[in-house]
């Protein structure tokens, strides 16, 4: 396959960037999208040009490191697929492919296609945990959890923190990501003791980071590579309303 790539190049956080066009030849349809970029980078290196910087690590769809806004879609055109699991057979010979970084004020660009997602970590630090120290915990089977509840919590827990929800959302909202953690812990009996404080603090941090506000468009869930459901967002709001009404936390 011969392709034309239009790739966002940006030297560093403080520089302006632009789209640069690269023709690329001889791509095998069995390559993954990132392997196609590897090929381009090897070419660039041999030509003495700077290779394109992009985030990636496990290349099996679980670490959440890869990103890329491909042809106008977060993680490209295939649903339920991270960029690293996207294969070139989903493109046609002669195609032009645009590749851009996640766009959000809360995700500033470090370089080329690499963005800073540390805002997500800070939101997790605001309350995405159950406060138990190592040791001194009850036996694992002491508290039975209905399978249906455990399964639901699991569904929420599968979030890989890649940021596709923010990238796809017209408003740059991070609520699907935040709600996944809030739901997981709110559903489990272990998470009950801190449920109010957790949702209050995580939502507050989400706002501080400069993410937009959810308007229930649904693009986040549609583009989520692991299928986090919008039900979690509703759950976050229930938790938020309950917390604001019942908690004794004053700002």
């Amino acid at each position: 396959m011969d392709l034309t790539l239009k790739v966002w190049r940006q030297k560093d956080r403080n520089s302006a960037g632009q789209m640069v066009t690269y023709p690329i030849k001889g791509i095998s349809p069995d390559m993954s999208f990132l392997e196609m970029l590897d090929v381009l980078n090897e070419d660039l290196l041999l030509r003495g040009e700077e290779p394109i910087a992009f985030d990636h690590d496990c290349r099996e769809g679980i670490c959440g490191m890869c990103s890329l806004f491909i042809n106008g879609r977060a993680h490209g055109p295939e649903r339920g697929t991270t960029t690293c699991q996207l294969h070139m057979r989903h493109f046609a010979d002669g195609d032009t492919i645009t590749i851009e970084p996640w766009r959000a004020a809360a995700f500033p660009v470090h370089k080329d296609l690499i963005v800073d997602r540390s805002a997500f970590d800070r939101i997790q630090q605001a309350g995405g945990y159950i406060s138990v120290n190592t040791g001194g915990v009850p036996d694992a089977n002491e508290i039975p959890i209905a399978k249906s509840v455990a399964d639901k919590a699991f569904d929420a827990a599968t979030c890989i923190q890649c940021g596709a929800c923010v990238a796809a959302c017209k408003n740059g909202s991070a609520i699907l990501f935040v709600s996944a953690k809030v739901s997981q812990l709110a559903l489990l009996p272990q998470g009950q003791t801190e449920r109010y404080t957790r949702v209050e603090n995580m939502v507050a941090q989400m706002d501080i980071e400069g993410f937009g506000s959810c308007t229930n468009i649904g693009s986040c869930a549609a583009e989520c590579p692991v299928g986090i459901s919008l039900e979690n967002i509703a759950m976050l709001r229930r938790e938020f309303i309950a917390a604001k009404a019942a908690s004794e936390n004053l700002p």
Binding site: T98, E100, G172, L230, K244, P251
Partner: protein
């Protein structure tokens, strides 16, 4: 900030305000429509003029007008605040973007639809409410009592094609606004349930289409049949 203002100035809190006011405005639509159905009575506007007189002088209704105004104000204010915030959340747009692959047009254009509705609303108030309240209308006698003839005003307005067009367009915008907004309000309030959500979505769709069709039928009726 105290806990209250903090709650309602957070992104989630503001959306709650928008959903509550939005649903309240939906209830107003129902009341307004039911009243306006008087226009279809073939009585030369008698029932409608009685109804409008009642609306203009009933204390409860007059009070509710202020609540309604507040509803609009909060709905619009929070929409503005959130829209500005959302624009700031993505300062650099995508060069190539295909949101149509993952969301509906109406859901992404609530601000645009809302603005169209607001413009329509201003025209609508200018047409009917302002003259009725402040300028005084021609009198009409019903059972020897003198009322203001708002009906005549309606007939006059809807004989002009551009008014009809504005009203129909306004109602199309409202329909799309509601198709997303109605069910979205429930999601915002956390009401998402495997059993009830499909019903809410279906009901919301039907509500939006029926209410707006009925409203749009009024100018069309007068233009073509009266």
């Amino acid at each position: 900030m105290n806990w209250f203002t903090k709650t309602f100035s957070s992104t989630v809190g503001r959306k709650i305000v928008m959903s509550v006011t939005g649903l309240f405005l939906c209830s107003f639509l129902v009341v307004h429509l039911l009243g306006n159905l008087q226009l279809f009575r073939n009585d030369g506007g008698e029932a409608f003029n009685l109804y409008s007189d009642f609306m203009a002088h009933n204390g409860l209704i007059r009070t509710m007008e202020w609540v309604l105004l507040a509803g609009f104000a909060f709905h619009i204010y929070d929409a503005l605040v959130l829209t500005r915030r959302n624009q700031a959340a993505r300062p650099i747009p995508y060069q190539n973007n295909h949101p149509e692959e993952n969301s509906s047009w109406a859901s992404r254009n609530m601000g645009l639809l809302g603005t169209v509705i607001l413009v329509f609303l201003i025209i609508h108030l200018y047409n009917f409410l302002i003259p009725a309240r402040f300028d005084g209308l021609d009198p009409v006698n019903i059972d020897d009592v003198e009322y203001e003839n708002l009906y005549a005003e309606v007939v006059y307005a809807f004989k002009q094609w551009w008014y009809v067009l504005i009203y129909v367009l306004g109602m199309i915008a409202l329909a799309y606004h509601l198709i997303h907004g109605f069910q979205s309000a429930f999601q915002t309030l956390g009401l998402n349930h495997k059993k009830y959500t499909p019903f809410i979505q279906m009901f919301g769709y039907a509500f939006s289409v029926i209410v707006c069709l009925a409203f749009a039928a009024i100018p069309l009726y007068f233009f073509f049949f009266v």
